[in-house]
Structures are given as structure tokens and as C-alpha cells.
Symmetry: C2
Subunit: 379 residues, 2 copies
């Protein structure tokens, strides 16, 4: 098999991996393709935690054809016996002759172990084929494993002049129906949805995916997951009570309170966790670390107000911004998109190139990756 074929089969394996994007949480998305005599004889992807890994699905579909075959897998096969047996062992037992791996396991405790087990069993291993593409699919999972915090995507919606509402608070609707439907798709990918008590109190949102608003393929992929994203609410002042929709629909919530606040009101369907304070606020770093380590949250979709989004941004905790902007002008009296500390030097402004600019209905949707090192030219 030459390098071009390797890339071709790995690209296909990556496309399989993405099929799991709505349902693998907290696991990574993995795809696997088994090739013999330059023909695909087996394929699979990981669908859901607790169910077989991609390699097992692919081996089952290949049957005896796996013997002597080449296997393309987007992430290093596991070497541990978890809820499913170790995939490395299954590949060895199936008699495959070569395993092509896009990237090694990001967990430093096990990274490389699967590769070594394969080599020890005289299976040829090729590492790093389409590595960057494969990592991108699991950017949130890698983030959790390597930085011990989830990957945060903050959703912002505003007018052309950066306003989110009128001075009187009216904001229904700034963006178009199409943009609001697009938000449903973005939400469907998230492991958790983060907001603040302020937003809960003023908007009483549900923060669920209304799966009937999704396209059929996405809907069925999301429904396979079988549960909504965990809703995470930061409530530094203990202002929440059971009257809000979040606490009535039977879906899970996690509320972060301050350590100092001893008397917590019990909220239905809700776990509560106390976090140390920074000034008067919940320590956002600690809260996110908790989400990563204790809750195994890879991807957090942030739908919060100008203050919480601003605080997360200031702390460098937002990895990506998705901004829906409507061709609408509200003027200076409207409410601002982001509350941030006063800047005195333009060079210190938060800035990163647009990753994409697309039209969504009447609005425009920007995607900005803030971890980018390519700073905007404002020299």
C-alpha cells in the first residue's frame, strides 16, 4: 500500500469517525477501515460509550477477511480492558498484518501502549497518517486529556453593531429562524451546555436540543445518544430556585455554587458542586477542571450573557467563538455583547482570524478559533 492509498483510506476512516459526533460522549470519535487487496472489506465507527469501539465493529464486518489485512484507525487502539475488551488484542487475534494509525492516544498514561503491543505481536504499524485531521475531529477530547479542561465554544448572537438586546432587554429575535436552527445542531455536539444564573433568571431557557428541528440524519445520530447534554449553571450567589424550566424537564443539571455559601437550596434533577471563589465569583478554572476530570466533559457549548462570556474570554478559557450576526442596527443604547475589563492598548485586544464566514439565513455566522497563533494584522 503506498502513501496515497494510506491517506485515502484514512480520510475515509475519519469520515466514519465523524458519524459519532453526536453520540460518543465522553468517548472520542473513532473510525476504522479494513483493507485487503486494495479493497475495503470491513468498516466501523464508535457510536456510543459502552458499545464496541470502531475496530471491533470493523473486525466484525470483515470477518475472516481481516486475516492478513491492513487496518486504518483514526486513534491508537486501546490496550486496556474497559467496558469493552482491548482492541489491540482483538486486532492481533484477527491476524491483521498492518495497522495504520492517525494519532496516538492523548492520555499520557496509555499513549503508545497499543502501538507497542501491536509491534510486540509482529504487526506492522504506521503512525501519523492524516494526524492533524484526525486530531481536529477530537479536538475537544484531546483538550480534556491534555489540558484537563473541556474545549469551550461560546455562542454569541448580536446585531451588526454588536448589540444583543435593546436597552429594555428585548432580544426576541435578533437573529433569524435559520440561525436559531443552526444553534440546535451546534448544541447537539456538546457534552455540556454552560450558562449563568443570570441567563436562567432572565430568559428561563431550556437549553436542550429540540431534536425534531434537526435534519433526519443528525436527528437520528443525536437520538442514539439517548440523553441531552448536561446543563451546567454557574450560580455564585445562590439565586436559583426550582421554578425554572431547567429543573422541571427531567434532564440533568449541574450547578456550581461558591464554597462560602453553606445553605444550598435543593434543585430537582440537579447535582450541586461548590467551588472556591475568586473575588466574589466562582473560580472558572476550577469549575472547568471539575467538568473535565469528574464529569468527563469534552465539549462545552457556552450560551451565556455578556458578563460570564466576558469573564471566560478574559481568563483565556474560550477556545472558539461562534458569532451569529444579524443585518440589524440597534444603536449605542442597546446591550453590549461582551463585558470585559477596560483596554488601553489595542494590541492587547482579543484577536484571531476568522476560521470561517458563512451565511445562515439572513445572518452571517463567524467561527473564530482563539487558540490560533496567527494574530490579526493591525500594525
Amino acid at each position: 500500500m503506498n502513501a496515497i492509498d494510506d491517506a485515502k483510506y484514512m480520510a475515509y476512516a475519519i469520515s466514519l469517525a465523524k458519524k459519532g459526533q453526536y453520540s460518543t460522549t465522553p468517548n472520542p470519535q473513532v473510525g476504522c477501515v479494513i483493507v485487503k487487496n486494495n479493497k475495503i472489506v470491513g468498516e466501523g465507527y464508535h457510536k456510543k460509550a459502552g458499545e464496541p469501539h470502531a475496530e471491533i465493529h470493523a473486525l466484525r464486518s470483515a470477518g475472516e477477511n481481516a486475516q492478513g489485512a491492513d487496518v486504518y484507525v483514526t486513534l491508537e487502539p486501546c490496550s486496556h480492558t474497559g467496558r469493552t475488551g482491548p482492541c489491540t488484542q482483538a486486532l492481533i487475534e484477527a491476524g491483521v498484518q498492518r495497522v495504520v494509525i492517525a494519532c496516538t492516544d492523548p492520555n499520557p498514561l496509555v499513549s503508545g501502549r497499543g502501538v507497542n503491543m501491536l509491534k510486540d505481536a509482529n504487526v506492522n504499524v504506521t503512525l501519523g497518517v492524516l494526524e492533524q485531521k484526525a486530531k481536529k475531529v477530537n479536538v475537544a477530547f484531546f483538550n480534556r486529556m491534555q489540558k484537563k479542561r473541556p474545549y469551550l465554544i461560546a455562542k454569541l448572537a448580536c446585531s451588526l453593531d454588536g448589540k444583543t438586546a435593546l436597552a429594555n432587554g428585548k432580544s426576541q429575535w435578533i437573529t433569524s429562524e435559520a440561525a436559531r436552527e443552526d444553534v440546535q445542531v451546534e448544541r447537539a455536539r456538546a457534552c455540556a451546555i454552560l450558562t449563568g444564573a443570570n441567563t436562567v433568571i432572565s430568559d428561563d431557557p431550556r437549553l436542550t436540543v429540540r431534536s425534531d428541528s434537526l435534519e433526519p440524519a443528525t436527528q437520528s445520530a443525536f437520538n442514539y445518544r439517548g440523553k441531552q447534554a448536561l446543563r451546567v449553571i454557574i450560580d455564585g450567589k445562590n439565586r436559583l430556585s426550582s421554578q425554572f424550566q431547567l429543573f422541571k424537564d427531567g434532564n440533568q443539571n449541574l450547578v456550581f455554587n461558591l464554597k462560602e455559601n453553606q445553605s444550598l437550596v435543593s434543585l430537582p434533577g440537579t447535582r450541586q458542586h461548590q467551588i472556591k471563589s475568586v473575588g466574589e465569583h466562582v473560580d472558572l478554572h476550577e469549575a472547568l477542571q471539575y467538568l473535565a476530570i469528574e464529569e468527563h466533559i469534552n465539549l462545552v457549548w457556552v450560551e451565556a450573557g455578556a458578563s460570564l462570556c466576558g469573564a471566560l474570554l478574559s481568563e483565556g478559557l474560550i477556545d472558539e467563538l461562534i458569532v451569529y450576526q444579524a443585518p440589524l442596527i440597534l444603536g449605542d443604547k442597546g446591550r453590549d455583547l461582551l463585558v470585559l475589563p477596560e483596554l488601553t492598548d489595542l494590541k492587547k485586544a482579543i484577536s484571531a482570524p476568522f476560521s470561517s464566514i458563512t451565511r445562515v439565513g439572513n445572518d452571517v455566522k463567524y467561527r473564530i478559533k482563539l487558540d490560533s497563533t496567527n494574530k490579526t494584522d493591525r500594525s
Copy 2:
């Protein structure tokens, strides 16, 4: 000649007309193509006021081939003897057999006269071929003729969150070098550039086209015009003095003062005109009417601050917005894009679809036509 051929030749005539976009002011842009036996035998466009019209250029290039030919012209040929002879007469004398006209003259005093003169001389006339496209080329000229005010394009530049500067006023540079170069091209099309005394005092801008920053073809087209756009400054409080760059570079200025202010400081290279007040401000409607009627200004490029731009917008005087937006976040302490009266109903917000969304360097450039009747869906 069939309708498809007619459209083809008229499209070419329109493309010729556009070559005059940087230099015909205050005249319209007109292109002309002369066709005989389905071959182009002559062509021309209007380059500059005082020089021959498009038809004359085309007739000269066709020579004797004009006899019995079909003539495509993007605007009704003139019937009056102005600085050049009437084109209608020249076409009749050349013996053309048919004249195809995209749109009639927007000036109600002469509209249709050229057509009638041709018909009276037994020249066939076809009207309305690619009429909308041809009108679009001269949207500003049509605006002046029909509404007695110029067509206003306001340039706005802001961060993603709608801010134009830091709280301390720093704004160099929000947008990228590429966006600032693009502004030069937009300015080069304008008959006048409008700003307020505030902007002059705080930024001391030149508001000229630096033609060496234009691409060669645009540069040579702009240079043919031989002068910069008229700079128009609204100074309701007589705050200007001769210290600013605008009054030192030898290019023309027009300053609007209030009628009530009797003692005007004389400013070099500057005409001054007094306008009645509305509240404490210059009546913008009267000022623009003056620009149209007395100064023959078709296209005004507005580069002003949040207050003047906001006032023009509120008065419904902006026809088009061009917004350069940088992937930069300045936060709520930054300066707002537009000062507008407080809104209490979202449905009354200024809103129109994006006409175009393009990337310019690191920034995005929106074009929004505000006279559009297609309102944004926010139901």
C-alpha cells in the same frame, strides 16, 4: 438582431460604461457599442464631463460603418446642446438604422426627448434592454436626478463587538491594511466625501484618495478625473480652523455652517454655506439637497463618527452601508459604532439583508442596501 444578441451587446456597453466610474462626475457613466452584420464596428464610453459622450466616441471609432448599423447605448442619448453637441443628432446624421437604449434619461425635463427625436428621424428605437442593470451603474446619478439628493454610502469600521475605538479613543488600527486599501477604491468612486467637524478635530484626516495605493487600472482611471472628491464637512458649531490638513493640501472643501452663526472664520480652499438648523444641528436634508442641486453631487462617501452617521441613518438618508469588521474584541468599554435614539421595539430597528459579504484581508466587508424592501426575518 434577436433579444439574446441585444442583451449581449448591451451587457458589453454596460461594462464599457463602468470604465468611467472614477471620472465622469457629475455626469452619468455611459457606454456605447455599434454593431453591423453582427460585428462590433465601434465602441466608446464617457470618460469625463466636458469631453465627448459615449455615442460620439463610438461613432468616431465606427466611421462610415455606422451607416445602417445598430447602436447600443446604456442611457438615452442626449437631445440638448451642452458642452458637447446633442448625441441624438449625431446618431441621425451618421445614418444608423436602430438605437437600442437601456434606460431613459432620469431628468424629467428631458426624459424621452432623445427617443422621440430618433423616432421622428425614422430611426428604429428599442427601449429597456437590461434596464435594471444599466440603472444600477448610475444609481447615484438617478438618485440625484429623481430625489434631488445624492446617494449616500456610509463607511463603518468596527470590531466584532461593534466598537470603533477603545474608551481612551485609540483606534489605530482596528481594521487591517487590506481594508484600508479597499476604502481607497471606494473613496475613488465618490463625488464628495462627507464628514463632521468632530472627526476633523479628533483625527485630522486628509480624506483624499492616495492614488498610488490603487491598482494601476484604477489609478489611471481615477487620475483621468484630475481632481479629488469634494470634501464636505458639517460644522454646526463653527469649530473648524485653518490648522487642519484638509485646509492645507489645495483640494476643495465645502463646509456647512448654521444659518444662525454669523461670524464665519475663512478657511483656505473652502466654500462655506449656511444651512438652517433643526434643534441645534445642521438640517441634513437641506444640506444634502444643496449638494445635489447646487454642487451636482451624485455619490457621497460618508466617513464620519458615530453621531453624524447615526443622525443620517435615523433620518433615512443613508442608502448603503459598507461595514468593515475586524475579528477583534474590544469589550463594552469601547466606543459604539452608531449613536441612535433609544429603541423600544425590535421591529423598528434599521434592518436590511446583506447584499454581499466578502473577505478583505483579515476582515470581512459587508454591503447593505438600506432602500431594500426585503426586511430581515425576525418574526
